[in-house]
């Protein structure tokens, strides 16, 4: 078995000449792509390593690196690296690079899908990067027929004409760069539309109050419009597992127009947002906000603070004594504690059901109401449909890129015309840019599976 191996270095795919080539050609370089991808990767790596201000504020950076270093990082922009002009310029350059390259060399490649493989003669086949020649005791057409059957079983599309054959596998894979790049460009388009016209925000709103979108966040370059309508939290409550752990939060929302008219009502919960005029409102957190108590005939509203699984309000009575009110949810009774100097801890004085009263010293203490506060996250993402289509294209494109395109030619001819038995010489060869060695291996298997060759003429000649 002889195997010759030659190193193949095809020059970089040359851009097709283009009238506007002079400006675009330097931008269409794949070298530039590799450089930009590497720089972007390094930038994102730094952004992954250094806490970002947009997520935990500068305090998180200070906690991690100390004040001096944190301020230095903030100054050079790595604490908000994804909004830095450096990062945005890199993305900008990549976009130009991708458009230039896609238009000049990627998209025109689609034309090659239409190309039909020409039939090759035996001599030409032997010059291909991988080829094999065998002598078989069958008629040339039978040999080709057998080969065609075998190739079809392996997934090849076969064309046959008398004693010549061409076969192709994975031609669809040639669409990979086009589909991927259309996807990537659409992704950039979708993200740009969202960044220029979309907005996001979070607001905790007590039940009974309104939320508008004035405090929303959007990019500096912004040409969008904020809704005129607002959202009112009518009611909000929590559902627990029997163990007491939170199962779900709910809020009844009303969309209210500028004239006060209710335009839509919906109950939302985590994973089940309200959508109105392209704005989604999500349930994202929940808590208790305040309690309304009565002391004899005086009504007082106390703000609650979260304390572990409970919420508590404090009311100093004098310099030493403090009353402590604790609620768990909107159903369970209010628990009233007192704490004073000299006591090891707070003492439970009484429990009052919602709507009930209890006597504390000479005072009638009434537990009138408890109000929830609901955390609403909202977003308007007008580019989302394009982004989603882009995702589909990118996934399809990179999957297509995994298919190795294979081309195969064969030619059979009658040799030794004096022999009463049929003797044919079959030449088979081809190539695969992405999987040369796998192609070679399968070529050998295909030829070996053709029956009993009397002998291999060139046992195996493979140029890789």
């Amino acid at each position: 078995m002889t195997q010759t191996v030659t190193k193949e270095k095809t020059p970089e795919t040359k851009p097709t000449p283009n009238k506007s080539g002079s400006f675009w050609t330097p931008w269409a370089s794949v070298k530039l792509t590799v450089l930009l991808l590497t720089l972007i990767a390094l930038t994102v790596l730094i952004g992954a390593w250094c806490p970002q201000e947009s997520q935990g504020g500068i305090q998180k950076v200070i906690d991690q690196f100390g004040e001096e270093t944190a301020l230095l990082f903030s100054k050079i922009g790595i604490t908000d690296i994804f909004h830095s002009s450096w990062f945005l310029s890199l993305i900008g350059f990549l976009t130009i690079n991708m458009i230039a390259c896609s238009v000049q060399r990627v998209f025109p490649k689609v034309r090659s899908l239409k190309q039909v493989m020409p039939y090759l003669r035996s001599e030409a086949i032997c010059k291909l990067t991988a080829s094999k020649k065998v002598i078989l005791n069958v008629h040339p057409e039978t040999a080709l027929h057998r080969l065609a059957q075998k190739l079809k079983r392996e997934g090849y599309t076969v064309r046959k004409d008398g004693t010549s054959l061409t076969a192709e596998f994975g031609k669809i894979g040639k669409l990979a760069p086009t589909v991927t790049h259309i996807g990537l460009l659409s992704l950039l388009l979708g993200v740009t539309i969202t960044s220029w016209t979309g907005f996001t925000g979070f607001q905790p709103i007590p039940v009974g109050s309104f939320m508008d979108f004035e405090s929303s966040e959007h990019s500096k370059l912004w040409i969008g419009k904020l809704p005129k309508w607002s959202v009112k939290a009518e009611k909000s409550w929590r559902e627990d597992y029997p163990t007491g752990d939170v199962k779900q939060w709910y809020t009844d929302l009303a969309v209210v127009g500028p004239d006060g008219k209710v335009l839509k009502r919906q109950q939302i919960s985590v994973n089940n947002p309200l959508t109105y005029e392209n704005v989604d409102v999500y349930q994202s957190s929940w808590g208790l906000d305040r309690i309304v108590l009565s002391f004899n005939d005086t009504v007082r509203v106390l703000n609650l603070r979260p304390m572990g699984k409970l919420y508590a309000a404090f009311m100093p009575l004098d310099e030493k004594t403090i009353l402590l009110f604790s609620v768990r949810d909107q159903v369970k009774p209010l628990r009233v504690f007192a704490k004073t100097d000299g006591w090891a801890g707070p003492k439970l004085l009484t429990e009052i059901p919602l709507g009930g009263t209890a006597k504390l010293g000479g005072v009638d203490l009434g537990y009138q109401k408890v109000f929830a506060i609901t955390g609403l996250q909202y977003k308007c993402d007008p580019g989302l449909p394009i982004t989603y289509v882009a995702f589909a294209f990118i996934i399809a494109g990179v999957m297509l890129a995994a298919i190795p395109h294979r081309q195969l030619w064969a030619s059979a001819k009658n040799v030794d015309g004096n022999n009463p038995e049929e003797v044919c010489e079959l030449s088979v060869g081809g190539h695969s840019m992405k999987a040369k060695r796998a192609f070679e291996k399968s070529l050998n298997q295909i030829v070996e599976g053709l029956g009993n060759p009397t002998h291999s003429v060139t046992e195996e000649k493979v140029n890789v």
């Binding site: 792509t33 992954a48 996001t200 985590v270 990118i394 060695r437």
Partner: protein, 330 residues
């Protein structure tokens, strides 16, 4: 964990160690090499099948998709490494990759078995993970990581066959130092700061020196034909891993959008997966460019493997925060 579960997992773990030694020792016996390598492949197959049953059994026992904590994800990683090796072996007959694949899988088993026992127990899911998206998002990522590891290890074999022994040694040192950083970060209280320096410094130094030494060739062992075979295996592994990573990242975005209303939030682990994705995109374009030698591409594949390691295990153990952190085990 049931006894059956434990027996199956241990059998799979032991089989990776056995297959490692069978593949290694095969190289010492020129005449029996083929037979021994075949035995190595069979042992790997047994390990792969046993682990498949172990994972399915864990899912039945837990009554949920068995991929929810670091230990379970390591089992999947070992499973994917064995499975992907068997796939590449079937296509290319690259049995020499066997000892490296077995070594990677065995290391993951050992890493997993040393985790605190709370990780081994089957526990209910935290609310954030209760979603059908979990089984769509995570498995492609794990399989892509396994593919990238096999691509990097094929790159190492390519360097060997191309006679680039010095570069190979430097690349191996880079891998050892970064793995050491992860090991120390997981099991010892050493400050993350030093570990980050060890990981990044070790990787930069090792790969830098490997690149620098590419010109030094040992002609006595260079075998261009085999080198080109490993180059292709490394490339194919990336071309299979890349779409899986793409699917993993995008479905993660879809899940996030479904749950929080935003598909991208620059969470550290998300960003790190993007870094890995961008580096492999760079690799693919370097190949299109066709001016890069196979040896340089092998080193790029090794860099990809280091980034995969950082994405997969580095973020927990080297003290990066974020939503996806499994936390430190100390």
């Amino acid at each position: 964990m049931s006894d059956l579960q434990l027996t199956l997992t241990n059998t799979a773990g032991i089989s990776t160690i056995v297959s490692f030694w069978v593949f290694v020792i095969a190289n010492a016996f020129a005449r029996r090499k083929d037979t021994m390598q075949k035995i190595g492949v069979i042992v790997t197959m047994i390990g792969f099948l046993t682990l498949t049953v172990a994972i399915v059994d864990r899912g039945i026992e837990a009554q949920r998709f068995p991929l929810a904590n670091l230990y379970e994800s390591l089992l999947w990683f070992a499973w994917a490494t064995m499975g992907c090796f068997l796939l590449l072996e079937k296509t290319y007959g690259v049995k020499q990759l066997g000892w490296l694949a077995s070594l990677v899988a065995a290391t993951m088993f050992l890493y997993g078995s040393w985790l605190p026992s709370s990780q081994h127990q089957i526990t209910p899911l935290v609310p954030a993970l209760v979603s059908y998206w979990r089984q769509i998002h995570v498995p492609p990522l794990i399989v892509s990581y396994a593919m990238f590891f096999l691509s990097g290890t094929s790159g190492l074999l390519q360097l060997w066959q191309a006679g680039r022994l010095r570069s190979l040694a430097c690349a191996v040192i880079a891998l050892l130092l970064s793995s050491l950083a992860i090991g120390l970060g997981t099991y010892t209280p050493i400050d993350s700061y030093w570990l980050q320096i060890l990981f990044v410094g070790g990787s930069l130094l090792g790969v830098g020196l490997a690149w620098w030494n590419l010109k030094s060739i040992n002609m006595a062992i260079a075998n261009e034909e085999k080198a080109s075979l490993y180059d292709e295996v490394s490339y194919r592994a990336i071309m299979i891993g890349f779409p899986l990573l793409t699917i993993g990242i995008i479905t993660g975005g879809l899940w996030a959008n479904h749950a929080w209303g935003t598909y991208w939030s620059w969470d550290p682990k998300e960003s790190m997966a993007l870094v890995t994705w961008l580096s492999f995109a760079a690799y693919i374009h370097l190949r299109i460019h066709r001016e890069c030698s196979a040896e340089k591409l092998s080193l790029v594949a090794v860099v990809g493997m280091l980034l995969t390691l950082l994405t997969y295990l580095g973020f927990n153990s080297l003290g990066f925060g974020g939503l996806h952190s499994y936390g430190k085990f100390k």
